[in-house]
Symmetry: C2
Subunit: 360 residues, 2 copies
């Protein structure tokens, strides 16, 4: 197999043969593997197949084509290093799309897909450590508007279950298009980011709630056909009252935040503007921006946080933040170094945003 | 495709063409489907494949071989009706084993496998209904013996989060070989079984705890090489104290039960005998039996529950229960009609066992 152009850009040493199993592999599975340079290597058993291709690879080059070995396994390595952090992928075998049996699955692109983790220089902030851990609670809340019991995940910080007189602020945190309410805790590692920040005393403990943003029925770019009302009704009229009744929240606007990634950012923007009395802290993670004129009552907004990856549109985010600051808003931007429209950008965004929330 | 012998056993009407998507399909996926007779139908896109086979089918016949259509999709129907309830399966494509992209995945056989649900005559008891719902909490508890933060799921009943002075008994409930701590809530639907029993006033609310039984490293039948000590240490010395410190339990033997399915039953049997002061209620679900001589102090045991499917060894279970009763134990057996060593047997077992627990 060819290691191509990107290999040489690593220096004369080329590809380092220090591959290890991805930390997101299924129990006992050796492949996929990653090396210290960020290359990924795949190995798939399909002895009678004619072609096996992995969707992951360098942008625009159409993924990684695997080569069949004498042992009936198809193998191959990405042409160059991948961005740090989490990536979704799938495998095309003889024209059909399947998951890699070696990897755990994560919900993205409207289905459970294979996931791989490229070790990052800053991976410590979302590592599972020997610190007190909060719980992630699956709740089923009644939704009259959709005539269903709907799912949400609620992160309650360490101490929540024993300090029974303490009440907490709440961040409502939304996934992107093609994802669901599992995204922030699974691929986002939001619970571990919180546990670590709390253990280091860097944040005031708060609750996080994730629910399904009802975005998977529409195609990316089809936002103009999307009505926010069904989700807004579920969130504002059903989920928030349920959470306030069943968890020890501080149930007022100044102790409530909303943030979302990508299409979840667009939902956050629309709902925070439609319902100015519900949230005081707003976060758009690779998910658009606010202009000063969007917001009618500046006094109700405690923070506007705008972020994206450096490979997205950082200038737009910085400019919007500058405009908001000039107009007197408490606005902060964060640009994730060397990442694009992927979960490493959003893990870092949560890590940066969390200490700014619920300051008083 | 052939519908074979079992089809005729359905009567002269043959196969009914009333197939509907399985309730365990991924969002928006039409296949796999099931009909009102319990047949399953599969449809897989792999236009250039040479052979596609589904592991599910009638016992001993090697699954269901799919046939390629002009549209590039492989399709086929099981030769006969499947047992009611949940089944694991996978798909072999050109010699490699993959999951069905249409179905959700469940952890069994040491990996995440496709799952399908055959509607059951008694499916109401584990249906998601408009009743108050308990929460399923993912906890990460410290384990010094394994030098890790370990995972467990804790079901807390409706009202747990608001009735802050109330304390609850606890059932420690174990999965089988090849499964993990996700099995009872995902494929077992234990939380919904509990919600429904509580809504009907049929049981006293209690907490359920599921953790990983450390059985996946050994092959089925390799029990003689399996040491119970590592898991027993995690359960007795680490998990139970953590749960008692972090949840509002009634922390004594008379309010603590242990049960398990298959290999989890063998673990239950061994641990309840090794540690007679920890649990008062014992349940073995398709997981062995106790003889009266096994138990040293009869006064400490409030209930012995033995169950299996009618297609397993019901006579052995009934005989053992009779022997225990004759020796003065409160022993109860349950035989699940028309099921084998599968989750429908264990869902029903939990449903029958729960009302017998924590009677005083």
């Amino acid at each position: 197999m060819s290691h191509g152009i990107m290999c040489f850009s690593q220096g004369t040493g080329g590809l380092k043969e220090d591959f290890k199993s991805s930390v997101l592999n299924q129990p006992g599975q050796e492949y996929p593997q990653v090396n210290s340079q960020g290359y990924a290597r795949f190995r798939i058993q399909a002895p009678k197949a004619d072609s096996v291709k992995v969707s992951l690879g360098l942008g625009g080059r159409g993924g990684t084509i695997l080569t069949k070995g004498a042992d009936g396994f198809w193998a191959g390595t990405t042409e160059g290093p991948m961005d740090e952090g989490f990536h979704y992928y799938n495998i095309t075998i003889d024209g059909g799309k399947f998951n890699d049996p070696g990897a755990l699955n994560f919900f993205g692109s409207t289905r459970w897909e294979s996931g791989i983790e490229i070790p990052a220089s800053d991976q410590d902030f979302y590592a599972l450590k020997n610190v007190p851990h909060g719980n992630v609670q699956l709740i089923l809340f009644p939704s009259a508007s959709t005539k269903a019991s709907r799912r949400a995940f609620v992160y309650t910080p360490p101490g929540y279950s024993t300090q029974l007189s303490k009440r907490y602020p709440v961040l409502y945190l939304q996934h992107g298009w093609g994802e669901d309410e599992t995204a922030w805790m699974n691929q986002g590692r939001a619970n571990l980011i919180m546990d670590n920040l709390i253990a280091e005393g860097k944040i005031k403990p708060f609750i996080i709630v994730n629910t399904y943003g009802m975005t998977n029925e529409i195609k990316w770019g089809g936002m103009k056909d999307f009505s926010i009302i069904p989700f807004q009704t579920v969130l504002i009229d059903e989920l928030i009252p349920y959470v306030d009744a069943n968890f020890r929240t501080i149930a007022n606007q100044s102790q409530r935040a909303m943030a979302g990634l990508s299409m979840g950012g667009m939902e956050t923007r629309t709902i925070t503007l439609n319902k100015p009395d519900v949230f005081a802290y707003f976060g758009l993670l690779s998910g658009g921006l606010y202009a000063p004129a969007d917001i009618k009552d500046k006094s109700k907004v405690k923070l506007i946080f705008l972020s994206c990856g450096s490979k997205e549109s950082p200038d737009r985010i910085k400019e919007a933040t500058g405009n908001l600051k000039n107009a007197g808003f408490n606005a902060v931007s964060f640009i994730s170094p060397n990442t694009g429209h992927e979960f490493q950008t959003w893990r870092r965004s949560l890590y940066v945003l969390a200490p700014m929330l619920f300051k008083d």
